[in-house]
């Protein structure tokens, strides 16, 4: 506040309001406010609410009953939970194949021939389609009576295999379907990365006699590090978020063999298996803690880069 002078002077000083004086300090907070509020209410608070909820027994309607860590104790002996956890591990490991596969296709397509742009876009195609449609497409692809897979196997006298009906194969079948769009994503990351590879270094290495695998390993891949980092981040997140494909292709079956944590949580909390919100929240907490390892690693890498500037 400006205090008006006791003695009126004839020189008029335009009042500088509080806002004007603090403009640089206040403006960022004004700009941040709506975004932060939305984010707090829909993302940050719910994370903590879920932590809290996992200590209760609640059907979503009536009174919630405090049960302490009993939900977690139940998890320890829950066979379905164990299956889900193992499947999550399979997803994590096998999904990473998308990274070398994407690199391979990117190397294959990194040429300048007529129509290559169209080829690149068409190879990228699967990523743009919703996972629901990818799921449907692959369900039909695997179908034992008319699926293309078994038709092709039939030519070689093999099959038919009911990929999604076999408890030992089903998860791998779904992961293969998931790898299709994910590989496309990694491919596009590497294609952009390859564009930025320093041609002089490549020429210099060629003069030194490097070629083929050695060139790829010692000269190209180190330069693709930023692309690899992003590919790693999005692939890990994609693997842990897998839900759509499982829900569409097998709905957790056969005999619950394709459940992963994200799907099992949904099943416990919202489907006909009963509205066990607290137990579902406990599963979600476990999933979150696994993800937290990776989030911490990502943030740490980003932080190092920020300080490096």
């Amino acid at each position: 506040m400006t205090v008006s002078p006791a003695v009126p002077t004839d020189r008029y000083v335009p009042p500088r309001g509080w806002y004007k004086r603090n403009e640089i300090r206040v403006t960022p907070w004004l700009f941040l406010a709506p975004g932060i509020l939305f984010f707090l209410f829909y993302v940050i608070f719910p994370v903590f609410q879920s932590f809290n909820l996992s200590l209760y027994k609640w059907d979503g309607l009536g009174e919630a009953e405090y049960v302490g860590l009993r939900n977690y104790q139940e998890l320890a002996t829950d066979r379905a939970f164990e299956t889900s956890l193992w499947n999550n591990l399979k997803w994590l490991l096998l999904y990473l194949l998308a990274i070398p596969a994407g690199l391979f296709i990117a190397l294959f397509l990194n040429q300048t021939v007529t129509g290559i742009r169209l080829y690149k876009s068409l190879f990228f195609f699967p990523f743009v389609i919703s996972q629901v449609v990818v799921g449907l497409v692959f369900t039909w692809f695997y179908d034992p009576t008319f699926g293309l897979l078994n038709t092709i196997l039939g030519w070689f006298g093999a099959g038919p295999i009911a990929v999604l009906g076999d408890p030992t194969l089903a998860t791998y079948g779904i992961i293969a379907a998931g790898l299709w769009p994910q590989t496309a994503y990694c491919m596009i990351l590497y294609l952009t990365g390859l564009n930025a590879v320093d041609p002089e270094q490549v020429e210099a290495a060629r003069l030194d006699g490097a070629k083929g695998w050695r060139m790829l390993w010692y000269v190209i891949i180190p330069q693709l590090k930023p692309a690899t980092f992003i590919a790693f981040v999005v692939t890990i997140i994609g693997a842990l978020r897998s839900f759509d494909l499982i829900s569409i292709m097998t709905n957790g079956g056969p005999f619950g063999s394709t459940r992963v944590l994200s799907f099992y949580m949904f099943e416990k909390a919202l489907s006909e298996y009963g509205f066990r919100m607290g137990y579902g929240a406990a599963i979600a907490v476990v999933l979150f803690l696994i993800m937290l390892l990776f989030i911490a690693y990502f943030l740490w890498s980003m932080w190092r880069e920020e300080r490096g500037r």
Partner: protein, 282 residues
Amino acid sequence: MFPTPIAKTSRTWQLTYQGLLPFALIMWLLPLIAVALFSIKPAVDFTQANYWGLPSAFAGFENYGKVFLESQMPRYLLNSLLITIPTVIGAVALSAMTGFALGIYRFRGNLLIFFLFVAGNFVPFQILMVPVRDLTRDLGLYNTKTGLVLFHVAFQTGFCTLFMRNFIRALPYELIEAARVEGVAEWRIFWYVVLPLMKPAIAALAVLIFTFIWNDYFWAVVLTQGAESQPVTAGITSFNAQYRAAYHLMSAGSIVAALPPVAMFFLMQKHFIAGLTLGAVK
């Protein structure tokens, strides 16, 4: 350039490569080509087990006509649009502001807030599911498009802020300083100096968010229930239940559901790829 440019290699390899390209593409898109083929076959082909032969007649118009005229599909498509477009506008607007604040100003907690947005963006959906569903119900927005839009805007703000902030960081800071020396108000700097420079980032995010939201399935199932509010990803499952075993119609339906983001991608390819690579790999 790596690998060795094709023009500098032997004639045989050049020819092999040219032949390999279309073959590899067909193999890659085989499951999709199969569905496209199914969608133009008449029903009779399926009853006669003529799955992979040539269609006995072209029934494309008939099948797609049925999808558009005799099912709830147009309604689901409209819902998807009414969910996706407001989300894109909301998320881009909010993140242009947060990105501006985090990218231009130096203040305590800047990096902390930035990392909060980034971390939130990586969180598994399931940990938000029960609380967000309750919140939406308390607001009286369960099973409405608005409820879905509000959540999507909030969640996407995380990713968009990451993108916008990094983009703004790369802008020449002298421009802002020059404007300040001229005595331009801060909000005017945002509106007249920074925003016009952000057009490429806004375009990239808009296309990307459009695709993400159009393809969302999880939240559609959690927050909505019926044909009056469900988007096409959730609607396709009820559509398939309606036409069980009518593979020609289910295929046509799937293609219709998948098409809008595909069209968006082909129209705005450059922006789309810039968005996907987070602007980090230039």
